[in-house]
């Protein structure tokens, strides 16, 4: 559920500023109410159902299911894997997040062309299927606490790289992730911004994605969430499942240790 604590101070300011004096309700309370109304009936359910079907369906050039896919807890295990990703995988010798790992499985088990799939635009063709799969896998860890491993040396290195990426000021506007997510209690327009250098709380930040975005009616995985952050930061385009996006995700995930996952969430 949404944190309401951040809204306190802003609420007072808005109450004074707002002309809506006929109702003793602030703009932020109004928006909390709006969000609450949307909780019941999250269209992410549609993608979740689709993802579950896709996992069990024989598909791709090899006409195989994904039921032997190893997401970190052994082949075929999908409960609880999401809250431990990204992690190091010995077979690929890489740190991978959920979407990167699904990409690997769709390639090795089903025979899809990994490079081709990674190049496909979000929301199209097999990318859309990958998002549905990620939505379902994430949902299978709903209510669990994030607990990413930092035991493998590569995982530690990726944390440090992710941290550097988080603070990297660049692009035409000099923005880093920290420009918006480095402090407590800030807003962009009316959106409250979680502080992501620490655990921002249950179901906030890393613990809310994949999420259904009501603004465009799209289902977004973490890869697309980060991709759009970089777009709005005026950065160049980060490759799908690239090391930069995985390292940044791992940094956010490790910081979120102990936060309860509500994914798939519903978002503005």
């Amino acid at each position: 559920m949404y944190k309401k604590t951040l809204w306190g101070a802003a609420a007072c300011a808005l109450l004074l500023a707002s002309a809506a004096a006929q109702q003793p309700k602030t703009a932020s309370q109004g928006i909390d109410e709006y969000r609450a109304m949307l909780q019941d009936g999250n269209p992410a359910d549609l993608f979740e159902a689709k993802g579950e079907g896709l996992w069990k369906q024989k598909r791709g050039p090899k006409n195989a299911t994904l039921e032997q896919c190893d997401l970190g807890k052994g082949p075929g295990v999908f409960k609880g894997v999401f809250v431990e990703l990204p992690r190091y995988f010995p077979d690929t010798k890489r740190v991978q997040d959920l979407e990167s790992r699904l990409l690997t499985c769709m390639s090795t088990l089903q025979g899809f062309d990994e490079a081709e799939l990674a190049k496909t635009a979000f929301g199209r063709g097999e990318q859309n299927n990958l998002t549905a799969l990620a939505t379902w896998i994430a949902a299978e860890s709903k209510g669990m606490k994030f607990n990413l491993s930092q035991s493998h040396a590569q995982e530690k290195v990726f944390y440090e790289v992710g941290k550097r990426l988080f603070f990297q000021r660049a692009g035409s506007h000099d923005f880093s992730c920290a420009s918006c997510h480095g402090e407590e209690g800030k807003r962009i327009r009316l959106q409250d911004l979680p502080r992501l250098t620490q655990n921002p709380g249950d179901g906030v930040g890393f613990a809310a994605w994949p999420a259904y975005r009501v603004s465009n009616g799209q289902m977004w995985g973490m890869q697309q969430r980060l991709n759009d952050c970089y777009r709005q930061q005026r950065f160049p385009y980060p490759g799908f499942a690239s090391d930069a996006t995985i390292a940044l995700g791992l940094y956010l995930g490790v910081n979120s240790k102990g936060a309860v996952s509500i994914a798939p969430a519903i978002k503005r």
Partner: protein, 218 residues
């Protein structure tokens, strides 16, 4: 770039680890690895050229390093950054600092421009309301920057064209043009310096902030 560097950043990480036993690479090695990963991960799309992350200036590089370290910049370094950015400020060629606050309001409202999805020829917005409270009619404003409501009024500007107002007018222009001239690691973009806003657009924003008729000063 030669291909061996671009190939896989992970290989580089593994190499570092093997060389340095199981301990974490040094901070400098991690900086370098991060740059390798950035080069391998980002690509040009639309008007968002890859150089935006591979060729950052000293201001951004030094401020990012300070952020990672969690320590403020060395005072001398900060001063030097501010001086070089101040020198880079382009003052209005015709000496006119103020434009039309109504156009300024529209620019302040717009958050468009310079992303890889924006057409290269479209006008850029100022993104002002994303971070600042300005005209009180707009309740959807951000709090990343200080409130600018009554910016001119609070500074006693009743006639922005008077000699007495000159220092404030110039500071306002300079701050919008290049925020880092006044605060080395400011979170604010360098609107003029980075080519986000044109000279005319900056004039309109200055008017929005300082014109006594602007809703900002009501």
């Amino acid at each position: 770039m030669n291909k061996s560097i671009k190939k896989w950043a992970v290989t580089a990480a593994a190499g570092l680890l093997l060389a340095g036993c199981a301990s974490l690479p040094s901070s400098a090695e991690l900086d370098s690895l991060t740059q390798t990963i950035v080069k391998a991960s980002f690509r040009t799309e639309g008007q968002a050229l890859v150089e935006r992350v591979t060729a950052v200036d000293d201001t951004n590089r030094l401020c990012s390093q300070a952020d990672v370290a969690g320590k403020p910049l060395d005072e001398k370094v900060a001063k030097a950054i501010e001086e070089s950015n101040f020198k880079a400020i382009k003052w209005p060629a015709d000496g006119k600092f103020l434009g039309d606050w109504k156009q300024g309001e529209a620019i302040a409202q717009s958050g468009r421009g310079l992303t890889w999805t924006d057409p290269a020829k479209s006008a850029n917005g100022g993104n002002c309301y994303n971070c600042h409270k300005m005209a009180p009619q707009e309740i959807s404003f951000g709090t990343l920057g200080p409130s600018l409501y009554q910016y001119g009024k609070l500074r006693g500007v009743s006639d922005p064209n008077s000699p007495a107002s000159k220092p404030i007018v110039e500071y306002t222009w300079g701050k919008i043009w290049n925020s880092k001239a006044y605060n080395a690691c400011s979170n604010m973009p360098r609107a003029g310096h980075a080519g986000i806003l044109t000279e005319d657009q900056v004039r309109h924003i200055v008017a929005l902030l300082l014109d006594p008729n602007s809703p900002v000063n009501k």
